[in-house]
Amino acid sequence: MNIIETAHVSYDYIRHDEEGNVEGCTRAVSDVSLSVRQGEFIAILGHNGSGKSTLAKHINALLLPTEGTVFVDGKDTGQEENIWEVRQSAGMVFQNPDNQIIGQVVEEDVGFGPENMGIPTKEIWERVEESLRAVGMYAYRKHSPNKLSGGQKQRVSIAGVLAMHPKCIVLDEPTAMLDPNGRKDVIRAARALNDVEKVTVILITHYMEEVIYADRVFVMDGGKVAMQGSPREVFSQVDRLKQLRLDVPQVTLLAHELQKSGLPLPDGILTVDELTEELGKCL
């Protein structure tokens, strides 16, 4: 079953002058039709201004399409009565770890979402515990969020979304402000949600290394989906990605460079193991 279904979605940002008259509009998303199956791990790539965050905000009805429709778990986000259900099915985590946490204590912060949904107290605590365990932050449940590192804060934010039992979670550049360890922990947590809890994950990122585990990759450019496919299919096209202001993982880039120097390597090598194996064949 498709958890997300967008049909011909376009979105215009409208600029107003000081009197409130329309000054102009910018089409940020343009005629995007895509569907995501329940349980998939999706990555969205794209340069700054390509429309990927705008598209992502449609998935939990933070933005409503100017044209076209978005269905989340069978509910039309354009219908006002669906909004709360949509936001419960699709949670969102943003880039900056410092402006998504509101609680004084980690477990209170994670409990905020389910509390607002009117969940009975006993169940809230159960959810808080399982969510914190899922992201590996249970040991910190009594800590103050201020004292956590960026990566730990992001994992608390993810737990906060998870406690609402969403079917789908959208991560909008969750690792952009983190150090290498924080980045690894957050990505590990996201993959575990997908593998173990079967939550659909939509990851927006500028780090190409984080994408290689995805089931499918969408590349955005000028508000449209410019490329899509498995990570291997997408990363095979090194030059095309560079044109779109993107990159490929370093292993893939190294393989590409070796290929250009005349080694008979296949396109789209994604891991160190594949590279060593293929080099073995070149002897």
């Binding site: 700054n48 290498p180 360890n181 993107l246 990159d247 292993v251 190294l254 002897l283």
Partner: protein
């Protein structure tokens, strides 16, 4: 020109019961025209260190000297130091505020009390150095893309004509091309003007590609201070303190385990390519020999 830290320690809240030691016995010197990378996990003391470089924080112990003079000495012109050591904070575009790009860059030199012609000449030069297109000089800085805004913010610091430029994660949140453009421009700027650059970064690949010296911070101390290939040779120690080596370093180590005679000190993709090709050639030669 040289900036020197000797036995610098710093405690946050040193006169309270909650004192936390953030820096411990730091010794380092930043000479003319060097491109230095500063890495360390969150909380390792990088930012505290950076704030010592232009006198935003005073060391609890030890001295900071600029051209041999103690910057915390009584008659030291601290205002001058702040224009000599320029700091670009994370997300500097949040600090833009003027009505157009050009005025924003003029703000710093104007506050130095320079004549108008000099202020404008400096702003012009700074914007050129960061590769900002002239047709947008009169545009509001808020209508620019993320990468362009960041250029304007960096130009604002350059217009002060610093001798040392310190950048705290100048590429956070930029797409890969934007990242390469900004870093390329900074490297070019360093060549052009001969200033020293200190780049604080979480990306080992970026550091490996651009700098000539890496300072690794951990627990408020300097763990390593050496050339990239030497620093990234300590893969295990780096991982222990929450860092990593560039991705290619791992590839080369793996190939070495498999018996390829690659140079594991290579830290960039092109260096790695060359050493792999070389190793393959050798290996082929060997096999032929055996036959």
């Amino acid at each position: 020109m040289s900036l020197k830290l000797e036995h610098v320690s710093y405690m946050y809240g040193s006169d309270t019961t909650l004192a936390v030691r953030a820096l411990c016995d730091i010794n380092l010197e930043i000479p003319d025209g060097q491109f230095v990378g500063l890495i360390g996990h969150t909380g390792s003391g990088k930012s505290t260190l950076v704030q010592h470089l232009n006198g935003l924080l005073a060391p609890t112990q030890g001295t900071v000297t600029y051209n041999g003079r103690d910057i915390w000495g009584k008659d030291f012109p601290k205002k001058e130091l702040r224009s000599k050591v320029g700091l670009v904070f994370q997300y500097p575009e949040h600090q833009l505020f003027e009505v157009d790009v050009f005025s924003d860059v003029c703000f710093g030199p104007k506050n130095l009390g320079l004549p108008k012609e000099e202020v404008e000449a400096r702003a012009m030069r700074a914007l050129k150095l960061v590769g900002f297109p002239e047709e947008y000089y009169k545009q509001s800085p808020f209508e620019l893309s993320g990468g362009q805004k960041r250029r304007v913010a960096i130009a604002g610091v350059l217009a002060m004509q610093p001798e040392i430029l310190v950048l705290d994660e100048p590429t956070a949140g930029l797409d890969p091309r934007g990242r390469d453009e900004i870093l390329g421009q900074i490297a070019h700027l360093k060549e052009e003007t001969g200033i020293s650059v200190v780049l604080v970064s979480h990306s080992m690949e970026d550091v490996a590609n651009y700098v000539e010296r890496i300072i690794v911070m951990s627990g408020g101390r300097i763990l390593f201070d050496d050339a990239p290939r030497k620093v990234f040779g300590h893969v295990r120690e780096l991982e222990e303190v929450g860092l990593a080596a560039p991705c290619v370093t791992y590839i080369l180590h793996r190939l070495r385990e498999k018996g390829y005679l690659v140079d594991t000190g290579a830290t960039t993709v092109l260096e790695a390519r060359d050493t792999i090709l070389e190793a393959l050639r050798k290996k082929r030669g060997e096999e032929r020999h055996r036959c």
